[in-house]
Every structure is written in C-alpha cells, then in structure tokens.
Amino acid sequence: MSDCITLAHGSGGRKTNELIAGLFKKHLGNSYFTADDAAVLPRPEGKIAMSTDGFIVSPWKYPGGNIGRLSVCGTVNDLACMGAKPLYLTCSYVIEEGLPISDLEEIAKAMGETAREAGVHIVAGDTKVAGKGQVDKIFITTAGVGVIEDGIETSGRLARPGDSIIVTGDVGRHGTAILLSRDEYGIEADVTSDCAPLWHPVSKALEVCPGMHVIRDATRGGVGTVLYEIAAEADVGIKVRRQDIPVADEVRGVTGLLGLEPLYLACEGRMVMMCPSDKAQAVVDVLSGCKYTEGAKIIGEVTEDNKGKVVMVTEVGGMTFLPQPGNELLPRIC
C-alpha cells in the first residue's frame, strides 16, 4: 500500500478494495461486517432506535481520543439516550487526498476498539476521497441502530417538576481539550477529553430506575445547553447548584483564564439524567460504580416555576439565571 490516501482509494476499484481488506476489515471486522451493498442482520425484539451523526473535529487527534473513537461514541451515546442498547453501526468516510495511511489506520483502530468496548458491531461502510483542500483531513459520519427494552421511555419532554437532575461526571473536558490542542492561546494544561461510550452505565441506571424520564448527552453546547433545551421541551423550570456541578481543577483553571463557562463547553462522555427524586441516589450510587461515570452527582432539580429558564444557585447562595447559550464558542468541536 502507498503511504498516503490518493484519489484512487476512493474510486471503488482495486485501491479501495485494498483499503477495505487491508485496513478497515482488520480493525472493524466482525461476523456482520460486509463488503456487499448492504449488511443483512438478525431482527431484534422490541422497539428500534436509529440515529446518525457527522464528525468534523479539528484537530482529528487530541488528548484522550481521536475522531475515530468520537465517531463511535457519539452515535452509541445518542442511542443510549433513548434507552436503546446499541447493536449496529455504519460508517462513512470522506478523506482528504494526501492523508497519511498511518493516520487512517490509527483512526480505524480507535473505532474498532471503541466499538468492541461499547458492544456494537460496525456492519457497513463507505469511503470517498476528496481532493486536497476540499475537506480537512477526514470527516466521518456514523449511523446506528439500537433496541429498546419494553417499558423504557425517555425524552426531553418527560421532565417533571420534582425530578432530580444528575450529571454523570465533571463537565467541559472535551471542549477544553480541543481548545488547548489547537494551541491558539499559548496555555499549557493537562486536560484530556472525556470521550467515552456510555451504554453500560446507562443500562445500569435504567435497571435501578426504569422510570427514568430524561437522558441526554451533553455534547456540542455542553450541559448548559441541554438544561435550556429540556426546560423548553418539557415547559418546566430548572434549578441547579453551582457548588454541586463537578468541574475538574484544570478545566476550571483554563476556563477561568479565558472567561468561558464550563457548562457551555462540550462533553463527549457525559449524560444529563432526570428522574424521580426518590430514585436519584440509587442512580448515582450505581453510576459511581461504573467506568466513565464514577463522578456522577445530583446537581439540582426540575421546578414548576421559572418555566423555560435555568436558575443557578451560586457559591454565595445567590440566585441568578444561567446566561443563555450565546454565539458559537468554538467551531468544529465534534
């Protein structure tokens, strides 16, 4: 194989096959993985959830992950938000001519490892190559199918006054890691992305609380955006306590310096959950025992008043509205 991706790798001919057989199959292969036009799969029992997501993060590699791991986690976590066990993924690559094949290998390897970790099969894919400068190194789109157990129904509109609000770990890591890896600010800090597949902890939370109302992954706009979305969708108020929101010291340091609100920085491995308050501690306890959600905490509750708004109880015990998400903080975060 040559050292770089060329337009021939996207031609559908010999070079494409070389890539599929030599690289993708090696890392992504499983019994369902197909080179045919479509994967043929056993029909699962229960309701199906389906989701798709595109990934254009820059840079493609950052402390704690790369676009390959991200592209699996993103779709797997979207399915998990609906209470769906992820079963199958497809992936579509748009690769810039000239990308070193070793980079593509690193990305595919991360995808394979993350898929196995998440218990999902990558069953079909597509590879296109765009001319130099037409894309930035690599864009990936994944689509996924999952199955929902009977009796589980989660949605943003199901939040109810009195519900407890849980965040599954410290906030703002992914956004901060990307920001630092762009090296535009001349700040050095040891921040790694939180990017992780979360079906396992979500399934455990659903076991102890099948009546969970809301699960949402706090990606691009961070936890703050999720809270505002749900306040609007369910027509409720949301009250959170600043002191209970977990933020890593290094993230607090960087965001303090740059005047950024950690609640609006992207996460890629954090869920916001809302459930009846009598189940909240059991959910936190079970999450605390799972990988990636050790830092789960109750941060507030859903309220009848202040509909559509997010109220923050501050460090000194004051109350204020959390500022509404503003302009795009950082483009190409995921």
Binding site: G186, T314, V316, G318, F321
Partner: protein, 347 residues
C-alpha cells in the same frame, strides 16, 4: 462571618439607604454571576460605574482606529471586545468587512510581536484600559524600542481612576474600589478621598470577598461619617506596585480624557511622552480631529452614573442587545447593560 451570615446581613439590612458604586467591570460581572443583586435589601442600591474600559471608550476613538485602518492601511491589533464597539457611524467589525485589517490579540505584547513578524505592515495596538493594563501597553512600546521595531505604535485611550472617583463622587455614597487598580497605585488616593468626605471599600473579586466588602460598606455607612477600608489586604498594600508605577511614569504623562457617557475628565488619562511620539499612532499618522456628532437614544451615560438602570433605557433589549450593541455598555461582558441582559435581570 461566613457567606450565609454575610448574605443574611445584606438581605435584612434596614438602616439608612446607601448607594454603592462598583468601579470595576469585573466586579459588575461577578456581582451578576453570583446573583448578589437578587438578595440585597431594597435599602442597598448598587450602581455599575465606569470601570469597564470598553464601555468608557468614546465613539471618536473608534473613528480614529477605523480611519487608520481604512485611510492609512494600518493593521489594527486589539482586544476582541473593542472590535464590536460602535463608532459614530461604523465599527471595526464593519470596517473589517470593508477590507480593513483587524487582528484580535490577547496582549499588547502580542501586537508588538505581530509587528516584528510583519515588517512590511504598519501595526497599531489599541491601547485602552486602566492602571491595570497600562503597564503592559508600555512594555509593548519598550519591547519595540529594544527590538528596533519601527512599524509598531499604540493608539492611546488609557485612563486613570482617581479623576473618575472625584468626578462621580456625587453619584454614590460609597465606592467599591477596584482591588487590582489599587494593587498597582496603592491606597493613598482612597485615604485622601476619605479626608474630602468620599467613602469607599477596596474589594476583591470572589463572591465571598464581594459580600465582605459590601457588608463593611453598609455597616460603616450606617455608623455615619466618611470611611475607607481595605477589604482586600491579601493583594492590596498601601504602597501598591512601585515598579509598575515607575515604569508607566517613565513612558507616559497625564492628559485630559474623554469618557464615553460621562464627558471630559481633566487629568484622567495618560499618553506617551513627547520623546516616544514615534510610537504614538495619533502623532505618527497625524490623525485629524474627527468630530462627528454621535446621535443616539442610547443612555449608557446615565447608566454609568447610576441615574437609570439599564432597563430604563428605551433601547435596552430592543434595538440594543449583545448581538447588535448600540451602546458600549452592551458590548463588553463587563458592561452593566450586557450583564443585565445576559443574567436576565431580577429573579
């Protein structure tokens, strides 16, 4: 006292009414972020004063920067906030769309560095700010002299606080003095003002430090008589930072300064001394006096002087919002109008 005791005291205060002016944009922002206004007793009235450098930068200054960029083909380097501030008829953001070269930097020293790396461009740094930022503006000039950089200069609108304290004394019963300014200039001015009947408390920047300073102001006010207290002693000493003061004195001299919304305050600015005029963009490029009338219903001036709350301005939240600021108080995160808008006013 603990935070909750301080909060209870400020919430239940029932002594004589007091107007407290915070003279620092960072204080304004933190007071809103902590929701402090929402629990204060109605007897305590906070006024967001002129302490945000962006908010008090006059429209004519923005006109000068646009003139340099469009007429003199100068590359403007600036802190990001200033780019959106309206001049009399345009902003640097709009000028950029018309082809002006405007580059956001995070320090004046980065502006000098840019000039060094781009010797074929004339580079001007927009030098606005108070005693806290003037030393770094001066260091950028000193670096340019050291490096023999002839294509770098600064457009000064640097301001000093003491003149503003005097000019605004009638608008408040007590200043919340900006801790970082006094970490530079020391506390002598506060003591002088006390002798002339002007009260104030030097405040730090955390929620608890702000509550402490406010509680001291309220307690002292209720006891009567002019007072001064340094409630930020972990950072502010009586002598301040003699090294920073000496550095600034070496390169600059006092001048009159125009404060947006307030007017001319004699001796409240600094400009580069005559011997450094080749680094003074106003002289280097011989900028003509740009006196256009700035017509607007914006009432930023009244907001800065505590005559009205931001919500009392007819433009607030309508024609003027953070996406389309009319007045400078809506541009910066530290401006009173922006803070009111962002934090949604009272709960």
């Amino acid at each position: 006292m603990s935070s909750s005791e301080l909060r209870d005291y400020l919430q239940n205060y029932d002594g004589p009414e007091i107007r407290i002016m915070e003279v620092c944009g960072t204080h304004t922002h933190e007071i809103f972020r902590q929701g402090i206004r929402n629990f204060l007793s109605p007897k305590i009235n906070l006024i967001s004063g002129p302490g945000c450098p962006v908010c008090v930068t006059p429209a004519s200054y923005i006109d000068e920067a646009i003139y340099l960029a469009l007429e003199k083909n100068v590359t403007i380097t600036s802190f990001g906030d200033l780019i959106r501030v309206p001049g009399t008829s345009s902003s640097l953001q709009k000028a950029r769309a018309e082809g002006a070269k405007v580059k956001v930097v995070y320090s004046p020293i980065d502006g000098e560095k840019y000039a060094k790396e781009h010797p074929d461009e004339q580079v001007v740094f927009l030098s606005v700010g108070f005693e806290t930022t003037t030393p770094s503006d001066v260091i950028a000039v000193r670096n340019a002299i050291r490096d023999g950089i002839g294509n770098f200069s600064i457009l000064t609108a640097n301001k000093t606080m003491p003149g503003a304290y005097e000019a605004m004394a009638d608008s408040t019963d007590c200043y919340l003095y900006p801790g970082h300014v006094h970490a530079i200039i020391g506390t002598g001015i506060c003591k002088d003002l006390q002798k002339r009947g002007v009260s104030g408390v030097i405040a730090g920047f955390t929620g608890e430090e702000l509550l402490t300073a406010l509680a001291i102001a309220v307690r002292k006010h209720s006891e009567g008589g002019p007072f001064y207290v340094n409630a930020y002693p972990r950072v502010v000493t009586d002598e301040g930072s003699p090294a920073a003061v000496k550095l600034v004195d070496e390169f600059t001299r006092p001048c009159d300064a125009m404060w947006r919304g307030i007017g001319m305050i004699p001796g409240s600015g600094v400009e580069l001394k005559e011997e450094y005029s080749s680094y003074d963009a106003r002289k280097k490029f011989d900028i003509p006096v740009l006196e256009k009338e700035y017509k607007t219903a914006c009432r930023c001036g009244d907001v800065l002087q505590g005559k009205i709350r931001p919500t009392g301005c007819p433009l607030f939240g309508k024609a003027c919002n953070p996406d389309h600021p009319v007045g400078a108080c809506m541009v910066s995160d530290e401006g009173a109008c922006s803070a009111f808008y962002t934090y949604g006013g009272s709960l």
